[in-house]
């Protein structure tokens, strides 16, 4: 296939952008930027969904695109920014793993993810299936990021971007899930973030910091 239709190319670009953003998040230590990156990811996701909706004409995709836009581009980042301001956590401390090391691990994971996606790609009937690999790697990269971070906030962002990855996976593998499920998922994410918001304040008022090493007291090793 020498020359793809435009939409296809755009979609692939979006996918690539997503991956890029994930890497950026992996390396990024400023929490505020992290949130911005997350917002960007959301935006790209929304764009991809929109494109897809436009090409396939599945109207429920429009809805989910709108949902994404509202939730992941507007509301959640706003909320997170607000939290950051309120709690005054701008920087994550040095990650547990050196950034370079994380990057390396990330690369390995991407390779793994693509090999993983092969059978799915073979199966999937969508013309976005080439992007499944990227979706998987976005998920795994987010996972990696959560492992390496020390601030509660950045872990949450990681969690959210993982959810993005999953969402993108659904999108690219099968033009999204049934409406009921998507609504449910969206709702859950929303609630989750709200709960987290509450959480932050509680943690804060107990430990007056969001540093995770306060949360290492319950253990067996002594």
């Amino acid at each position: 296939m020498t020359h793809l239709p435009l939409g296809q190319q755009l979609l692939d670009t979006c996918a690539a952008l997503l991956l890029l953003l994930s890497f950026a998040m992996l390396s990024q230590r400023r929490v505020v930027t992290l949130v911005n990156l997350y917002a960007a990811q959301g935006a790209v996701l929304a764009a991809a969904t929109l494109l897809l909706a436009w090409r396939t004409g599945e109207e429920h995709l429009y809805v989910s695109a709108a949902l994404t836009l509202v939730l992941k581009v507007a509301f959640l980042p706003w909320l997170l920014h607000r939290l950051i301001r309120r709690l005054g956590v701008y920087w994550d401390t040095e990650p547990l793993l050196k950034v370079s090391g994380t990057m390396l691990a990330g690369l390995v994971i991407v390779v793994f993810a693509f090999s993983l996606a092969q059978p799915i790609t073979r199966l999937a009937s969508t013309d976005t299936r080439s992007a499944i690999g990227i979706a998987v790697s976005v998920v795994l990269l987010a996972f990696l990021m959560m492992i390496t971070r020390r601030k509660a906030m950045s872990q949450v962002v990681g969690f959210l971007s993982m959810e993005n990855g999953v969402f993108f996976g659904a999108m690219s593998a099968s033009y999204g899930m049934p409406m009921v499920v998507e609504l449910g998922v969206a709702l859950d994410v929303l609630v989750a973030v709200l709960v987290l918001g509450v959480f932050f304040f509680q943690i804060r008022e107990r430990f007056d910091s969001l540093d995770l090493h306060h949360l290492e007291t319950l253990k067996e090793r002594d």
């Binding site: 793994f112 993983l116 995770l212 067996e220 090793r221």
Partner: protein, 671 residues
């Protein structure tokens, strides 16, 4: 296969239920000793007598009765079966429990930890569950009864749960019991042979590959051995038996251990079909070792109940040696001798039930009268408590294997089966047999030593403490209990022929051969046809008494000097105090000295310049350091390693999940 209504079996079940009800009745007035103690226990005793009667009847009839009750697992209702083997042990349970329960009726008093009502419940549940074990005809029912037995006895053991050492004893006991039960569970898992029917009937039918059969046998040996107190699985026994109230110790030692023997016979000789000869080696060798080990430790004990507990270990050793011998013979197709060995084994079970219960009850009375378990603080009680003393003497002589009492008969039979092993097809066993005989005899002789120590130090000599002067003889209920058991010892000793006839049904069932009676006389025991070997306890007894009486008569008639009481002569040393007598430690000293390698001894000797010299000696079993402490240490180490996993840091936890995910994905891709 009897098609008639299983009347005897139904009767037995009814009696067991009766026991449960009696126990529950104890909860009506839990605090009242008079009601829960006296009334209910005697009632339970009566039920025991009934059970003995029924079981005896079925034993003599030799028939088999089956019954199926619609409880238990869905596919597996509760199967019950009354065959000679189970009826023999039921008889043992009923008969000895009668004496014990009557005694218990007089025994329990206020302020003994658990309330009498609760005790009554646990006690009778214990009895009923033992009956259940003997009647069960499917693995599930068997195991349930088995564990209920362990559980109820555990609660009985921890009656005085305020004392830490008793809690420790109880814990150890339940742990060993549970592990043993798990082994049995696996054993039955093998036995059912993929038929998924857990009835014993199906197990008999199942055809196991030799490997599986051997595995099942070994699992059974471990499981039942742990309950019976086979060395090295006996460690719980010397702690648990003394910890329990004496009637309970009597039950545990006299009856509960026998249920393990029953199980061993049931699995080894019944469910597994025709055994392979070399299976027998394991119980034989372990048994012989257990005999020796148990009696050695009994000899050095200073606590009277511990001493008896170790002597139980020894007797269990004798029984298992007998089982091993039976299997070796049966496996080599020597039915006649196998039957003889089995007979001796069963006989010894009966004997031990009576002797050991009698002795434990005796110690119970002593304990109540003096509040002392330590031999070093007893002595001279024959003057204060003649009933207990003289009745216990019978038990002592019996367990020391003195003719014409019952202990001698079973040992005699066992020796005969050793002697007439004849030529076995396996050279190794041929050499093992004489060794075994030697160990058995040595054990018996040592048992004599132990028993002289036990009796002499408790009942003879001078009281070692001033408080003993206040000791009083036991009440009439206790006397009845003791008397019953003592009479049992005598009867079993004097009428072996009749007993053996009754046991014939069992040997016929398990071996397919009965021990013949080679002599025409009803009073003469001649078990080996074609060999002039015989023993007639009645004649023996009459002859001895005749000679003794004659002597007395002659002496009395010819010499009329009066007998004067004076101070003890003691080579004219004068001023003999009770402290000058040999102590329990002293009496054990030769054994300790001779068999040092078996013991882990820590001595505390006085300094030459000590104002008040103290001599303390503590003896532990090496088994602990060789086997059990390493195990627990290993578990500890493992636990510490495992604890590292749970190390509190969320990133690490996430890493676990991540790693698992990746690995599993890889696996999924590859496969």
């Amino acid at each position: 296969m009897t098609t008639t209504f299983p009347s005897l079996l139904t009767g037995c079940v009814a009696l067991l239920c009766g026991w449960v009800l009696v126990g529950l009745a104890g909860l009506l007035r839990p605090e009242s000793v008079r009601f829960a103690g006296r009334t209910l226990f005697t009632l339970g005793a009566a039920l025991g007598l009934g059970l003995a009667a029924l079981a005896g009847a079925s034993l003599l009839s030799g028939g088999i009765e089956r019954l199926i009750l619609p409880i238990g697992l869905p596919e597996l209702p509760l199967h019950l079966r009354l065959d000679p083997l189970s009826s023999l042990f039921l008889f043992l349970l009923g008969a000895s429990s009668f004496g014990i329960s009557v005694f218990a009726g007089g025994y329990f008093r206020e302020g003994e930890g658990t309330a009498p009502g609760l005790l009554c419940l646990q006690y009778h549940l214990f009895l009923a569950s033992m009956g259940g074990v003997l009647l069960a005809n499917d693995a599930y029912g068997f195991l349930v009864a088995w564990e209920v037995m362990a559980l109820s006895s555990y609660f009985l053991v921890t009656t005085q749960h305020r004392l830490p050492e008793i809690r420790r004893a109880g814990f150890l006991y339940l742990l060993m019991a549970h592990v043993g039960a798990l082994c049995l569970l696996l054993c039955f898992g093998v036995l059912q042979g993929g038929s998924w029917l857990f009835t014993f009937h199906a197990m008999r039918a199942a055809h196991l590959s030799p490997g599986w059969a051997a595995a099942a046998f070994l699992l059974a040996l471990v499981g039942f051995g742990a309950k019976a107190g086979l060395v090295p699985l006996h460690v719980w026994l010397p702690d648990a038996h003394p910890a329990a109230p004496s009637p309970v110790s009597a039950l545990m030692s006299g009856v509960m251990l026998k249920t393990a023997v029953y199980g061993m016979l049931r699995v080894g000789l019944d469910l597994l079909g025709r055994p392979v000869w070399w299976w027998g080696l394991a119980p034989l060798i372990l048994g012989l070792f257990t005999i020796f080990y148990g009696v050695l430790f009994a000899a050095v004990q200073t606590d009277m109940k511990r001493l008896l507990a170790y002597s139980s270990v020894e007797n269990i050793g004798i029984v298992f040696a007998g089982i091993g011998l039976t299997i070796v013979f049966a496996g080599s197709g020597m039915k006649a001798v196998a039957a003889l060995a089995l007979l001796a084994t069963l006989y010894h079970c009966l004997n031990h039930a009576f002797m050991k219960s009698l002795l434990f009850l005796g110690t119970g009375s002593v304990l109540h009268a003096t509040g002392e378990r330590n031999l070093g603080r007893l002595g001279g009680l024959i003057h204060r408590m003649p009933w207990v003393a003289w009745l216990t003497l019978i038990g002592t002589l019996a367990i020391a294997g003195i003719p014409p009492l019952n202990g001698f008969v079973s040992e005699w039979l066992l020796l005969q089966s050793f002697l007439f092993a004849g030529r076995l097809p396996h050279a190794f066993v041929n050499l093992l047999i004489p060794m075994g005989m030697a160990l058995l005899v040595l054990g018996a002789a040592l048992a004599g030593y132990v028993m002289v120590k036990f009796y002499g130090i408790i009942f003879l000599g001078q009281p070692r403490e001033a408080s003993l002067a206040r000791a009083h003889d036991c009440g009439w209920l206790e006397r009845v209990g003791l008397l019953w058991l003592a009479l049992g010892c005598l009867a079993l000793g004097l009428f072996p022929l009749q007993v053996i006839r009754a046991l014939g049904a069992v040997t016929a069932q398990l071996i397919g051969a009965v021990v013949p009676q080679a002599s025409p006389h009803w009073w003469l025991l001649a078990p080996v046809p074609g060999r002039p070997v015989s023993y007639g306890p009645l004649v023996f007894l009459t002859a001895t008494t005749a000679v003794v009486l004659l002597t007395v008569l002659v002496v009395r008639l010819t010499y009329r000097q009066r007998v004067r009481r004076g101070p003890a002569w003691d080579c004219g040393f004068g001023a003999v105090t009770a402290r000058m007598q040999d102590t329990a430690e002293g009496f054990g000293q030769p054994i300790r000295h001779l068999f040092q390698p078996f013991f882990e001894i820590e001595r505390q000797l006085p300094e030459p310049a000590d104002r008040e010299p103290r001599y303390r000696i503590a003896i532990r079993e090496r088994i602990w350091r060789l086997l059990y402490e390493p195990i627990s240490a290993a578990v500890d180490r493992l636990a510490n390693t495992a604890a590292r996993v749970q190390q509190g840091r969320i990133s690490v936890y996430l890493l676990y999940s991540f790693a698992t995910l990746l690995v599993l994905l890889a696996v999924a891709l590859i496969s």
